[in-house]
């Protein structure tokens, strides 16, 4: 086929392009993802029984997870369209991680030496490392689908951004179940759980985001 013929075919009778409403689409996608994740927590894990008295720490944890998602959002959006530099959006993620590290150290220094280890590890295996990625999966799948309707060209980076963003959403839902309220626990393991989501996203990105 001659390229001139192709150009002719593409151009003939071209109509005004639709303006895709990307902000609305991403917003709806994230909202649906969050609702699904919360429903999953309610059905399978169960909301923590003391949610009535623990409203404050649950709120704080959910806000921290929401902040993580909010930091990933500009990066993910920037990657939806080709040829746009990432600039400060990558830096913002770094700043967030740095703040989390500082918060962890500050909180641990405020603890008694005897209780420090428990405040950090929560006194057992940090299950959020497994459960947050599972809760993030529906959001990640929906976001992947939304994203493919646009034109991401850096698939590994886009995958990581989708993973991190979904991880933040998953962690928001997880905070309703999570029984551990120690600051250092949250700033360490929630961040790591979200990072795992980002790594999984980066690994899968090139395969699932192709268009």
């Amino acid at each position: 086929m001659k390229t001139e013929h192709l150009i002719d075919m593409l151009a003939r009778g071209v109509e005004p392009a639709e303006r895709p409403r990307w902000a609305a689409r991403v917003g709806v996608t994230l909202l649906v993802g969050l609702v699904v994740a919360v429903a999953l927590v309610a059905i399978s894990l169960g909301v923590r029984p003391d949610i009535g008295v623990a409203r404050m720490p649950v709120m704080m944890k959910a806000m921290f997870a929401a902040a993580a998602a909010a930091v990933m959002l500009p990066l993910a959006i920037q990657l939806m369209k080709p040829g746009r530099p990432l600039g400060w959006r990558l830096g913002a993620v770094g700043v967030f991680v740095a703040i989390a590290v500082i918060a962890t150290m500050t909180a641990l220094m405020g603890e008694d030496a005897a209780r420090r280890m428990e405040a950090w590890t929560g006194g057992g295996f940090p299950w959020c490392l497994v459960l947050v990625p599972i809760l993030a999966a529906p959001t990640a799948a929906l976001l992947t689908w939304t994203m493919r309707a646009f034109a991401p060209t850096q698939l590994t980076m886009t995958g990581a951004a989708i993973g991190g963003l979904s991880g933040g959403i998953g962690a928001m839902a997880y905070s309703m179940y999570c029984p551990i309220d120690s600051v250092a626990f949250v700033t360490t393991w929630y961040v790591l759980a979200i990072a795992i989501c980002a790594v999984l996203g980066a690994a899968l990105g090139a395969r699932v985001l192709r268009w």
Binding site: M1, A11, R12, P82, G83, T153
Partner: protein
């Protein structure tokens, strides 16, 4: 070499539905892309032309992904680079699949038209439903009006338009996917 502001103006007019501007944009973009791909696939002019076509299709079908706040050429080359990486990945898979793994395409015939790619439009068209095929052939290839095509086939005008729309969508997908070997 076409300049940024000129190409950008053409694309924006094309986005507003101006056919001539859109055609001019695609033609100038094709020249830019040809240089880009030939530099990177030396001695494989046909593969380069395949990629020019794939990228043109991507520029066309995803034209709403251009953000006017950023340079147009950055957008064009981001998509070109993406298509190139995708092509190289596919080529690697093909080599793994074949036993000899040979990619030798022999001497390039100097008379072979420079802008001809290996994929054949008729083969791709043949994979569409008859109605869509007929609509695209008449309107897009034989340059008939929608009205004439409707009279010739006996379908209604809106039927023809919908068939073209659906058929072109599938065709674009096939051009993007088909490994032209």
């Amino acid at each position: 070499m076409a300049d940024e502001a000129h190409l950008r103006a053409l694309l924006l007019k094309g986005l507003a539905g101006e056919e001539a501007a859109h055609r001019a944009f695609l033609t100038e973009a094709a020249a830019l892309l040809r240089g880009f791909f030939r530099n990177r696939l030396r001695g494989r002019a046909e593969d380069a032309e395949d990629l020019v076509q794939e990228t043109l299709v991507a520029l066309h079908t995803r034209r709403d992904s251009y953000d006017p706040n950023y340079p147009l050429t950055a957008w064009v080359f981001a998509i070109a680079r993406y298509r190139l990486i995708d092509f190289l990945r596919r080529a690697k898979h093909r080599n793994h699949a074949s036993l000899d793994g040979g990619m030798d395409i022999g001497e390039i015939d100097p008379d072979y038209a420079a802008s001809d790619a290996k994929r054949d439009l008729n083969t791709l068209l043949a994979r569409l439903p008859d109605k869509q095929q007929a609509a695209i052939r008449l309107v897009k290839l034989e340059e008939k009006s929608v009205k004439e095509a409707a009279e010739e086939t006996g379908f209604s005008e809106s039927d023809i338009k919908i068939s073209i729309h659906r058929g072109m969508k599938t065709l674009m997908r096939l051009i993007g996917e088909a490994s032209p070997t």
